[in-house]
Amino acid sequence: MAPKSNQTVVSSKLKKAPSGIKGFDEITDGGLPKDRPTIICGNTGSGKTIITMEFLVKGALMYNEPGVFMSFEETKEELAANMESLHFDLAGLIKQRKIYVEYLEIDKSQNIEAGRYDLEGLFVRLQNAITSIGAKRVVLDSLDALFYGLDNNAIRPEIRRLFKWLKGKKVTAIITSESDNGFSTKDGLEQYIADCVIALDNRTVNQTTTRRLKIVKMRGSSHGINEYPFSIDLNGISVLPLMSQLANQSLSTVRISSGVKDLDSMLDGKGFFEGSSILVSGSAGTGKTSLAISLINATCKKKIRGLYCAFEESSSQITRNMRSIGLDIDQYIKSGVLKMYSSRPTIQNLELHLIAIQKIIEEFEPKIIVLDPITNLISEGVNTEIRQMLAHFVDFLKGKNITILFTAAITLETVKSNPSDEGISAMVDTWILVRDIETNSERNRGIYILKSRGMNHSTQVREFVITDDGLALLPIYISADGILTGSAKLEHTLQKEEQHKLLQNEIKGRTSEIERKRKMMEENIALLKTKFESEVAILNEIKVESDLVAESLESDKLEVTDLRNKIRSSSEKSKNRNK
């Protein structure tokens, strides 16, 4: 049995037929097993026919693989009409011989059983259909019609034969089947004879219906094991893959400006990393949306395509409001650089939002996305599930090197009261917190960067003001009373200025006083000097006088002596005369 062992070798390296359905090929590791039959089971209205039809349409359009659709339930005309409402040009593809549709009618009431039979008619018609367009893909929708219309005991071995036959024909086949409850087929049998079973489900929780897809088994291939939400809209099916692609991320070192110069300077002077995730959180009215719009405005200016998802306001409301702070984003919407997606979170639940956004991403290819705010989405579902979904969504964006900014009404206080909020922290690279600072019955905004991976960010708290010309950050004022902002800061500054003025005046006063005193002192000195000098002069005069006196004294002495002599002589004379 050489060929058989050979087959097992092949199966370990299973070839895949890509479906072209958004998200589906990611979770199936490339698509459906090539040249093998796959069962898709699901309850009524879970989208079996659409997913199989999209498999054929995409196969014909994208992978040049013609496909055959054998319908047991709808006629060719009904199918074409139904698919037209989904933007699938089935009639056109049929005309181009890329798709062949055949309606197989089994009317139980018409058939009278009289003996044993087989499904050879189906085989012949299948064969005929496959060869007529050289089909590589085959869909049988659905098997239940056979079970319903014919004797089950007769059919079972024939179904087994059908699967074998399909494998032999080298076509990638999908056989649909109704499922009873959950993820198993009604008859159970098919699960054993198919290599690949995919289950669709359609369930309603809190009055919102979500479609989910699960790969029950896929022999010889790795595949995602979760339940993946999917949606059906005008363009067909989109599956939201929850698979993490952390390993494949190629990181960018390109930086993008936040649109606020001062904020850039807090972020290493350069701004955010391209392809990073940014969370702007804070309580209501702290300017989260303004910050987000600032970033979008800055990137749009550089012709970088952006997507703004608004969950609180309509896009016209945002454009109007932002004009008041000098940010005109309307021009970018008109020029096609910016796309707005606004929707109330209550209309759809998170997965459908994410699918819708993912779709826009694939078509519009934005480089930056804003989700404003994400808390509204979170309120829509069970916390852990939502968080996981968000985390995967962020991973998906990172894989595409798309920068994402989301706003959230999370503060450090709510993180403390609701620790699961911190889970968000794990998936963001940069977390900017806008905080209310309330003093003197006035509210001001303080902004700081809680974390920013891979850069030397500022740890300062700055005051965040919204002006007519956009946003600005002011240095925070620290006084003896603590951090001051707003009017308190103004008041404080005024006070200081007053004080300064007073001191200046005092200095002025004291300086002139000193000047006056100096003059006085100098005058005094001069007075004293003159006094002193006059005294010196007096002394000198006295000295001269005394000299003169001394001189005269000397001369007097002589004179006296002379005189005495004279007198003596005269007296003697007189004596003599008297005598």
Binding site: E113, G115, E120, V124, R125
Partner: protein, 109 residues
């Protein structure tokens, strides 16, 4: 012939051939030499010769030869015999080994 006779009821009203063409128009779709089909061909021949002699027209079509007819006649299981006439159109699926049932449908009982 003896084999068939054993299966058939003894009382058996033979329908005479009518003047204007065959009363029974039968179309048997088979697939080549598959067991069920071979049996069906043998059975229908016996039934026709035994009960409808002279008043039937039988067409045996191999769907492998005429896949177009398989499609247009909505053939899914084989063998299948379509009773085109008398109306209404009916289908008997299987190898026709349940002769009683076949005769019932053909209104020969």
């Amino acid at each position: 012939m003896s084999e068939l006779k054993r299966k058939l009821p003894d009382k058996f009203p033979r329908k005479p051939a009518s003047a204007g063409g065959p009363e029974y128009i039968l179309r048997l779709f088979v697939s080549g030499i598959l067991q069920n089909s071979v049996r069906a061909v043998r059975n229908i021949n016996l039934i026709c010769e035994g009960y409808l002699k002279g008043s039937y027209k039988l067409e045996i079509i191999d769907i492998y030869q005429r896949p177009d007819l398989a499609t247009s006649e909505q053939i899914i299981v084989v063998p299948v015999m379509i009773i085109k006439s008398p109306l209404p159109e009916r289908r008997i699926i299987g190898d026709l080994s349940n002769v009683q049932k076949v005769l019932e449908v053909l209104n020969c009982l």
